[in-house]
Amino acid sequence: MAITRRQLFTGIAKAGVPAAVAVTVGTDALLAGEPIPVPSAAVGLLYDASICIGCKACVAACAEANDTPPDTRGDELHQAPNDLNDLTRNVIKLYKPEDGSAFSFVKRQCMHCLDPACAAGCPFQALHKDPESGVVSWTAEKCIGCRYCTITCPYHIPRFQWMGFNPRVTKCELCSHRLEKGLKPGCTSVCPTGAVIFGPRSVLLLDAKQRIKNNPGRYYQNRVYGEIDNGGTQALYLSKVPFEKLGLPELGPESVPARTLRWQRRFYQYFALPALLYAGLVQVIRKSLKGHEQEAHEREKETGLRAQL
């Protein structure tokens, strides 16, 4: 009772394809163009690179606020991390072009994206965005140390602890333990020039736009990085030099997960397509198996040897 290939395909097409298409296309899970919801009490940072003096007080304050030992692994003496790492949640870097044109410092820490790629990729939700404050935090109890977050984050922020048998993933969590007590994050508490400030995201956005209005031509493209970049982030940046030079990539208005996982999400929506495929496969294989077993039994009779199914 062999089914021909033609019958196979027609069967699937008649039943499955319309249903599958309907389910796939009709879904509205984070489709393009939909604005990403901003958490109700979203807080964030506004960092103005043009007033940062590179004093690195925020680097020291961050380590102190988070009870992290200073990272002296560079020269065994000074707390001078070369980049974010398992002991450094916040770092000041310098963009200094060879030709002597304008230089700029940049403060790098977690951007607390509105649709974080790290949380989208984390298999067991160890990285989780708080629905109210929007702070993206890491939970040790759920993490399996797969380091996928270090790959998905477009800003390359989460860092894995490579030494020791109990590694953790380190990144800025906006000093949520201080926020609970009504204090501000460590970095913003010590900045001498007010280059980085803390506050509700909406207020910071207004402040940033006011600065742009008051100083036309001072800031790159007269815009705030993070307003819509990567779908919006809660750490906002103003800069004199191009954002890309500071290591902030131009990602466009769509968040990384929405842009790249669109078809994945549609395909697996409600598990409809896979389930359909499975049902079809079972039918096909049932018929196949019947035919195969019949042939095998015939051969068994012919050769006298036990069938190998």
């Binding site: 004093c55 007080a57 991390p81 980049d83 870097k93 310098l94 200094k96 900045c191």
Partner: protein
Amino acid sequence: MPTGERETIGTHLKESGVSRRSFLQLCSKIIIAAPIGLSLTRRATAAQVARIVGKARRPSVIWLHFQDCTGCTETLLRTSAPDVAHLILDVISLDYHETLMAASGAQAEAALRSAIEENAGKYVLVVEGSIPTRDDGVYMELGSRPAIQVVKEVAGQAAAVIAIGSCASWGGVPSADPNPTGAVGVDSVISGKPIINLPGCPPNPYNLLAVVLEYATMGRLPELDEFHRPRFAYDRVIHENCPRRAHFDAGRFAAAFGDEGHRKGWCLYKLGCKGPVTHAACATRHFNELPGVWPIGTGVPCVGCTEKGVVWQMSTVETVPIHLATPPDTYPPIYSTAGQLKVGAGALVGAIAGAVGGAAWVASQRFQSSTEAGVVRVAADIAHAEKLKAKPASKAVAHSDDRKED
């Protein structure tokens, strides 16, 4: 003031009864005042400096006051050890100084004239105070002659002009807005003579002493920057050498006068310290020969008294931007290096890849022959089996259990 034949400094000091010990102490203070940038002080020990200074002729100095507060003179005298003040005055020959000399009136004018005549072309003119230029300079007259005229006349015969204090250097207090007298520094009025500015309000007296002695001993003036300030004292900003810099770097700031941070001696930047934009040597050479006797040392933010655009232009509580023209390279770059290719691992991977590739190649070569071999073997087996079939009681059936023969 004794004039006439110039004796050497060493002789004069001995005659004045100054001990050699005091002289050596003075020389070591000069070294501290000007550790680099002066050929005079590029010696290893105070004794070497003393030898050179001792041999030099006492330089003649004429000191003029204009729109001043006499603070620069006071700084020369206000030392904690009175001997040192006298020492300074014994090393240089101060031939005319209105504050310090006994004469006045017509006697003073005569003294000036004779001082100029006797040392023409050899004396160092020190100017204290700014010079008014508005309305033909009537706002300051010396013996009924406008300051401009006086300074041009006296500078005309001088070997070098030292403008001591901010007022003489660029106008100072009198030049603060609205500058009603048109006060300017000496270098706006004099040209054609080497001018050295020693701004400060007041400046450090050892800066003056070092410059004068360099001229007296070496016959040349120290290296100057674009504002005619000697580099040995004015090439760095206070911020670079500030003893409280560590607090600045660590983010410890005094937020208000008298608060805990202020009491602990933390950085005064947030209180408006102009250290980052003020070129002066006060951070390392304090005043009155006492350590810690300088504004920041006593808990007062620097007001930038040497800088024309800072003091009396900016509010004392206004914080200054701290952008150095070229930041040092001790900051991490935007992209840092990671990972390295180790030779051992590379060799291992290469060896494995080579081994696998080689094995695959060898295997592929054997295929042609083996197929035939396989075919031949099967054919031989079939032949053998058929041969066995031909024989009746074959050895193949040695066991009692029944089994179909192939």
